[in-house]
Symmetry: C2
């Protein structure tokens, strides 16, 4: 069962939980804000739902809360950092902000960070770059969690890729894992007793299926676009590991700490007004988005929306009516906030 | 029926065709090489098959064979060009080469070209950047040819996105349109009397189907990854048009010249050894690719291959045994080479 909790209450509760894990005031404030915003935007899987697992990772020392980005090298429009396995969120926010600074100076900016940890919701950093006025591109490599196309065992990460457009009337943001559905989403459908809207993986007989439990059993999630998502996943892995000088997917597999521990991330910010007027560019954004939204809908009650537009709607509703959270998850967050640091993993894979 | 034609003979024949269209010796040599290489790599749709349509576009003045990239602006690691609706291939090769030059100086290089024409096979330019030793990323916006997710009419381009990794033992290259299947591929399956291996669009009753003819009828091709390919397509359109200061997809729709006439392209080159040793990086590439290729296959007779590996195989075979081409298409190329410039569009959409 889901409930709605006021944004401020959720954030303050989460903050207490983070303080109890040993984070500094500033770290706790930042992490609580980002996790609450993710839930408020409708990405519960990487919002409230992920806090208990983060707590366990801190307890195990897999996330080093004293780690901060250390400059490894700088060249032209590019910088490389070692994340010291610090908090994924603070490392990622730092990297995204540096990329926009480099873009201010060079038109385009690149930050490659290695040896960092799970950034939670990747879209957060694309949104941040867009809010700062830049086209933001970012991606991450992860341990293997999806079969490569043609394989029946997990052999590549689902390596999310994000791109954001700084439209002032509402950012357009794509945040896509290379699997058609996240494991978290499979769990949501299974618990609700529902089938997936489209096939999301293979059952134990090797048939494409929309049954979430059958896919959880085989772990044969379907790459988005079949061979396309699989191909892009391996290329993003190679590129991230090369540019940042860090782990590729199979290095993470070997270390067996899961969930992006030791991963690499790439942040690219591009000034959209490099060669054009801001007003004219914004006018084009609005004109193009309006035309997309006016495309004839299959179902008139579901008009077409550009990516990010529904998120802004959900965000508004979360601020006015409270943020949706699963009751059991919320009980865990409150327990952490009260100093009970033992939590069970109920939020699925 | 397909036949095999020796690479050199194919290239020389194509070159004569291009010379007959009025291209200079150098332009004809370049275009003949690129189209023949595309066919040799197995991408016939944008190799030989596209030459007759290119001839018609030149005749109509939609491709301006005297156009060349004109510098609009340069800032830091970024440059912007106007392509003067010149030949898509030569404009794109120029842009990719400039991006690598900028990357040499700044670590990362960006070229945005507007007002250009169809680049044929997008992967060509990603391969070129990788062959020059860089991680290459490029994309293009096109006129609307695919329904946005939730719409039943074409409302966004299939905006191909490419990324290439400069592995010295064989480049890893992804070249993916945002539709699950290209229209050209639908035609190939229809002519062969085959169903698509996976659903590729919607029939007139709005059901997902693997029947290529039913999809050609509705033009409701499926975005790769359903909402994911649709979302990425609109973001890539906005980004390309903004950075290059050129047309977005609906501007091309309005001009009604089709096939990327007036489009924008983005080229990003990144030095993969910015912060790491070349030898160590190449070793990582080989290790990661070997692990991917060793992933347990569904069918032992179809081992997993990273994107680009099969292309290199096909390329070798084309050089030793001849390049595959459809007989009717080959007759058209020979007619063009003989000075008969009237061709019919048989290569499908």
């Amino acid at each position: 069962m889901s409930i709605r909790v006021p944004f401020a209450e959720m954030k303050e509760t989460a903050k207490k939980a983070f303080l109890n894990m040993g984070l500094t005031e500033e770290q706790a404030e930042t992490c609580a804000t980002v996790h609450t915003e993710s839930s408020a935007d409708g990405v519960e899987s990487h919002g409230m739902n992920r806090i208990p697992r983060f707590a366990r990772y801190v307890q195990r020392g897999w996330v080093n809360i004293k780690g901060t980005p250390q400059l490894v090298g700088a060249r032209g429009a590019a910088e490389n950092y070692d994340g010291q396995r610090g908090i994924g969120i603070t490392n990622a926010l730092f990297s995204a902000a540096r990329a926009t600074e480099l873009a201010k100076a060079h038109g385009i900016g690149l930050v490659a960070i290695r040896n960092t940890t799970h950034w939670m919701r990747g879209g957060t950093y694309a949104w941040k770059m867009a809010e700062a006025g830049f086209i933001g591109i970012c991606w991450i490599n992860t341990e293997s969690c999806m079969p490569l196309w043609g394989s029946d065992v997990k052999s590549v990460g689902n390596n999310p890729f994000c791109i954001a457009i700084p439209r002032e009337d509402g950012e357009i943001v794509v945040d896509m894992a290379m699997s058609q559905y996240a494991y978290g989403k499979l769990g949501v459908y299974r618990l609700a007793g529902k089938q997936l809207p489209y096939p999301g993986g293979f059952d134990k007989n090797g048939n494409l299926t929309s049954d979430p439990a059958a896919i959880e059993e085989t772990m044969r999630v379907l790459p988005a676009g079949y061979w396309k998502g699989s191909s892009l996943a391996i290329a993003l892995d190679l590129a991230a590991a090369a540019i940042s000088g860090g782990f590729c997917g199979i290095d993470m597999d070997e270390e067996k700490k899961g969930s992006c521990t030791g991963c690499c991330q790439i942040y690219i910010a591009i000034d959209p007004y490099l060669f054009g007027e801001k007003g004219k560019t914004q006018e084009m954004f609005n004109r193009r988005v309006a035309a997309a939204d006016a495309a004839h809908p299959i179902d008139p009650s579901h008009p077409v929306r550009c990516p990010g537009e529904n998120t802004v709607e959900r965000r508004r509703k979360s601020h006015s009516e409270g943020v949706v959270v699963d009751e059991a998850i919320w009980a865990q967050i409150k327990a952490l906030a009260a100093g009970n640091m033992e939590t069970e993993d109920i939020a699925s894979h």
